[in-house]
Symmetry: C2
Subunit: 343 residues, 2 copies
DNA sequence: GCGGATGAAGACAACGTTGTCTATGCTATT
DNA sequence: AATAGCATAGACAACGTTGTCTTCATCCGC
């Protein structure tokens, strides 16, 4: 009877087939630097192929040590912003670290976020990238902090892609700096009366951007009206409509996300308003929506790809758990599209 | 000294703290239906909380049996089509099966798809949902078949969300039926001369839809011109431009995906062509792009959500590995938007 | 030719859990 | 009152791997 008949061949089966000990087979197939006689090595390799041996990562992981599984918690898989993050992290995991990323979609629900974190703890992942900011309700922030502490205590490396008032390294752009960059851009282009459509005010990043932006604008005699809305195209369209009523002669609309800007542009165009001739529009994030918009959206590149990669690289670095790193400030830059005009 | 100091407390620590045997602690914390004295139960629960016990899913998984981890291989995370699938599967995994889904992004690369499948095999996941169709190059189909066979042999339940000439249950819409539905819709609305922009011809589903559609159209005296392009908005825009040159008087543009349709609409509108007054446009998939398009796209709902859920439910069903099921044909329906007019 | 040094292969415990088997104490039955 | 029967708790092997320890043989120098 052929050994091939074994359902899920293990090292023991390989060793038996090759006529060597378990240890020897293990050493060969693990590519350990341990010295093994070339003849035996060959025999083991042949036997492994013959029985169809596939290493069991679960057993390896139980045995101990880093085994290359990280968790990624994202806010909303269908939001281009988080999609980019998920893409960059999973890609980097595969190409640079031959690692798996378990993607958890928290569906904009803070409670689900905590549930996923606990599950990832049970799963003993090597590290976790939290990219669930933007939907904080602050109703469960205490629980979140507690869960993160528990994770850190157990030796899991936790990082965040947004500043969220949790004690972990953060890989994110500087919200204040972005606020100022946008405000400067507005002033430099001569706009004096603008509308601002931001995401929910409960979000820390939004608040920081808003404060930096408005204080700069005030200092440069720019009139502005602000509305806080959901960060979706639909809300953006409604927001633009209301802004037109409330503040009819603004010349630029500054949006807190590309999604909002996209919706706003759709609405403005359907009202026959020319962009950017009559109203300039600016987004944030340089997501896929910026490219999909016609005309192409003027927006701010936030380097989500770089942030995701940097976060993963940090987790995978050998000294991550002992490191006192506070993360990295990710740079941003204005992407000039076709939706912004000088006055 | 408090037991709390233990880094990663195990059942042994809990048992020690509670003054019971390992087995008893295990039985309590696993919620086994095994009878345990209420007093001991209480003691164990208290001890578990005191030491901060968290079950180790890796050990559980090694021990054997289904443990709730499935793999999902998707074609392109940033494509709305696959995004919907990823969303529905991860959501269903969490809500209905308290399961993890490892999302693998094959980045439109057939070789990477195989690499991921092998890695999922090493990981001994309970099941795998392959949603990587659409990018088949056929250059590596043999390897794919071999890998899938290996997976099945090892006891992994494999299903596909697209028909791909691999011997696994398929949960997908009937491509021929969709082709006919679309063709019928065109005929019923009185169009006589149309343009067709489909995805890459190497794709089986595309081919089936195309054949069914064209044969129906021919049978109803409808003139058509076909182009096969990439399934992206950018390609859709270029495709529409070429179609205008090649076939200037068509009255409807039938697209093989919402992405193509979105790009086509953008281009047509920027050329000053009124939609649907001058040209009607139809997409496929009813993805987020259909909603984002202005005017709202007329398209075909393919129930990706239902397909993903059905596939996952199948994997999680107890008899999945022994079942001879061939999957499920997912229904489709035309979604009437604002981009299609009757002549 | 013998002792020590070197190199390669085998034995074995451990990772944390679970199911089975065994041991024990208790109740119920004749 | 003795034993069968039952309920409950503990002991233990197993899952597949890896690192360490041990064993064994070979080779070299004296």
């Amino acid at each position: 009877m052929d050994q091939r008949d074994v359902k899920n061949p293990t090292l023991v089966d390989v060793a038996k087939k090759a006529g060597v000990s378990l240890s020897t087979a293990a050493r060969v197939l693990r590519n350990s630097d341990y010295a093994v006689d070339a003849r035996l090595k060959e025999k083991v390799n042949v036997a492994a192929k013959a029985v169809g041996y596939v290493p069991n990562l679960v057993a390896r992981r139980l045995r101990g040590g880093r085994q290359g599984v990280v968790g990624l918690v994202i806010g909303d898989m269908l939001d281009a912003h988080y999609g980019m993050i998920a893409e960059s992290v999973t890609k980097r995991a595969e190409t640079a670290h031959s690692t798996f990323a378990i993607v958890c979609n928290m569906q904009r629900d803070p409670l689900l976020e905590i549930k996923y974190l606990r599950k990832l703890l049970e799963y003993r992942v090597d590290g976790i990238i939290i990219a669930g900011g933007g939907f904080d309700q602050w109703t469960h922030h205490g629980e979140l902090v507690e869960t993160v502490d528990e994770l850190k205590r157990s030796g899991t490396v936790v990082v965040s892609l947004m500043p969220r008032n949790i004690q972990v390294p953060v890989f994110a752009a500087d919200s204040e700096a972005i606020g100022i960059s946008k405000a400067k851009f507005i002033v430099e282009n001569g706009h004096k009366k603008i509308g601002i459509l931001l995401g929910p005010a409960r979000n820390d990043m939004t608040k920081q951007r808003m404060q930096a932006m408005t204080s700069y604008l005030s200092g440069h005699m720019v009139d502005y009206a602000i509305a806080n809305i959901d960060s979706t195209p639909e809300a953006g369209a409604r927001g633009a409509a209301e802004m037109l009523l409330r503040n009819p002669d603004f010349t630029a609309l500054i949006c807190g996300s590309d999604a909002i800007a996209f919706g706003a542009i759709s609405h403005l165009r359907s009202e026959g308003i020319e962009i950017p001739a009559r109203i300039s529009v600016m987004g944030l994030g340089n997501t896929r929506l910026a490219t999909l918009s016609t005309p192409r959206l003027t927006t701010v590149e936030m380097n989500f790809h770089h942030a995701g990669e940097a976060a993963l690289d940090f987790i995978m670095s050998d000294n991550a758990s002992s490191s006192q790193s506070s993360g990295e400030v990710i740079g941003h830059s204005i992407v000039v599209g076709e939706t912004f005009a000088s006055l």
